[in-house]
């Protein structure tokens, strides 16, 4: 990654150190300003690939924003506050459905979402269906 891009990413509000892994660059920044990050990536013609949610112990959720720019993968890992994050749907239409799906499956509230209706979860199921832990607890 170019040094100036790395430095610009490090200057985003709430940013921490970028670490290179086998599958791309990762930043674990619980308080990263996701709106400013989305605006910055859009300015670069970067693409939002997807957003991954994973339930944390308690009621919070770890949310990973996966971007793609110039043959590089950038992953920003943030944590919800009271299971809430600001929506980036009005900046990047790509986030519209992704945020609504996370709202359905992990009960994360995205404030400022242009139309936060249910997307994928059938009406008879309660939101937060995917908060159940996987891994060794499932053995």
């Amino acid at each position: 990654m170019a040094t100036d891009l790395k430095s610009q990413l490090s200057d985003l509000p709430g940013a921490t150190e970028l670490i290179q892994q086998r599958d791309g660059w990762w930043m674990s920044a619980p308080n990263l300003d996701v709106i400013e990050t989305a605006r910055f990536m859009l300015g670069l013609e970067g693409r939002l690939s997807t957003i991954t949610a994973a339930a944390l112990p308690g009621d919070e959720t770890e949310v990973i924003y996966h971007y793609y720019f110039d043959h590089q993968v950038l992953n920003f890992k943030v944590t919800t506050q009271k299971n809430t994050l600001p929506s980036i749907g009005s900046i990047l239409p790509a986030a519209d459905w992704i945020e609504r799906e996370i709202q359905d499956l992990y009960k994360v509230r995205f404030t400022g979402h242009p139309h936060p209706e249910r997307l994928i979860l059938p009406a008879q199921l309660e939101p937060g269906l995917f908060r159940e832990p996987g891994g060794k607890q499932k053995r």
């Binding site: 086998r22 690939s49 990973i64 993968v73 790509a94 459905w97 994928i120 832990p133 891994g135 060794k136």
Partner: protein, 359 residues
């Protein structure tokens, strides 16, 4: 007076459930609202209750068309966490299977598109040609839909007779050159029905995060086989097809050219197939604590898998991002100002897959 037309969730042409509400002013489309979730199966949650071996079988059922790319990308994510290097021959076999899958998927879409255009003879020719591809897939894997080819660390089956496969693929290439390319690139009926219809600008393609042939037809040169090569794509040097018009015709042309490129890649992979093992020999590899994403270029665009592991044999988290999930919202941008009668073709032009989208 403006009015709404609800279409779906059950469609006579596309045998998958989704609903699209078209807001019209006369014959002119003002806006569309798309609803999904009619085929929601909780596959990600189910994958967090099964071990890695069972998960390969499970994720193969995400999609009935591009089943191979799902198992491959799942295995790539697990291999990334475990630091497993793919044997060279396995990389080539993964390319052969992926490109055969792209061929049959693009042919399936071409047949559906021909029918929507009203070109019935073309539809029949294409589906007859697709059978030849299905025969090759069956000859290699023993299966026509769920090939069960991938395992963590390689593939399950070898390509035992590359020469006979090569000869079958050459016949497919001749048929593509004889039927598909001339009609989809120069035929006046196809041009009249598709040129200038359902335009997606490059700016909208980026903002909506569109992928695969839909993005490449809008001038977004995005193809993971070139940009972030995996398996043996780095050695085979993929040439990506990019058009700039952004209309349905551009999407037709991109897919037609991609079929030729797929055949070239299969031929080259079969000719250059290196000797050696097809997997690491360890059928039950331990996936240590860690997390990784893996990306692969499916027929409809990039597929992403994210796996988090706590070191047990059951993944802590499996996230699946399919290409139609990103491409379908862009139909809203393609539809505004279009004729109502063009809506079936515009929707179909992204080659939607709702089984994948709903997971």
């Amino acid at each position: 007076m403006p009015y709404n037309i609800p279409i779906g969730p059950y469609h006579p042409a596309l045998e998958e459930p989704y609903k699209i509400t078209v807001a019209c002013e006369g014959e002119n489309v003002q806006d569309v609202n798309i609803e999904i979730g009619f085929n929601f199966r909780s596959i990600e949650l189910l994958a967090q209750r099964r071990n890695y071996i069972q998960d390969i079988t499970l994720v193969e059922r995400v999609c009935g068309i591009c089943s191979n790319v799902h198992t491959m990308t799942f295995c790539m994510a697990a291999e990334s966490i475990a630091g497993i290097e793919l044997p060279a021959r396995a990389g080539y076999i993964r390319v052969i299977m992926s490109e055969l899958e792209r061929l049959h998927s693009h042919l399936l879409w071409s047949g559906v598109a021909a029918e929507l255009i009203g070109f019935q003879t073309m539809f029949m020719e294409i589906f007859a040609l697709r059978e030849l591809v299905m025969d090759v897939l069956e000859a290699i894997s023993g299966n026509r839909v769920n090939y069960a080819m991938n395992c963590v660390g390689g593939v399950n089956r070898d390509v035992k007779d590359p020469d006979s496969i090569l000869s079958a693929v050459r016949k497919i290439r001749q048929e593509i050159e004889r039927i598909i390319i001339p009609i989809f690139t120069t035929d006046r009926t196809v041009q009249a029905r598709t040129a200038g219809v359902g335009v997606l600008t490059k700016e909208d393609a980026i903002a909506y995060g569109t992928l695969g042939p839909t993005a490449r037809a809008s001038g977004v040169a995005l193809d993971l086989r070139c940009d972030l090569p995996y398996a043996a794509y780095g050695e085979l040097e993929t040439k990506s097809a990019v058009e700039t018009a952004g209309d349905v015709r551009a999407r037709v042309v991109v897919r037609a050219l991609e079929m030729l490129e797929s055949v070239r890649l299969i031929e080259k992979a079969l000719q250059d197939l290196p000797p050696g093992p097809i997997n690491t020999g360890n059928r039950f590899p331990v996936i240590p604590v860690g997390e990784a994403t893996a990306r692969a270029e499916a027929p409809r665009g990039e597929v992403i898998y994210y796996i988090a592991s706590d070191g047990s044999d059951i993944p802590l988290r499996v996230k699946i991002r399919t290409p139609t999930f990103m491409n379908m919202p862009s139909v809203r941008a393609m539809s505004k100002g279009q004729q109502l009668a063009d809506m079936p073709l515009i929707q179909a032009s992204i080659d939607p897959c709702y089984s994948c989208t709903d997971r």
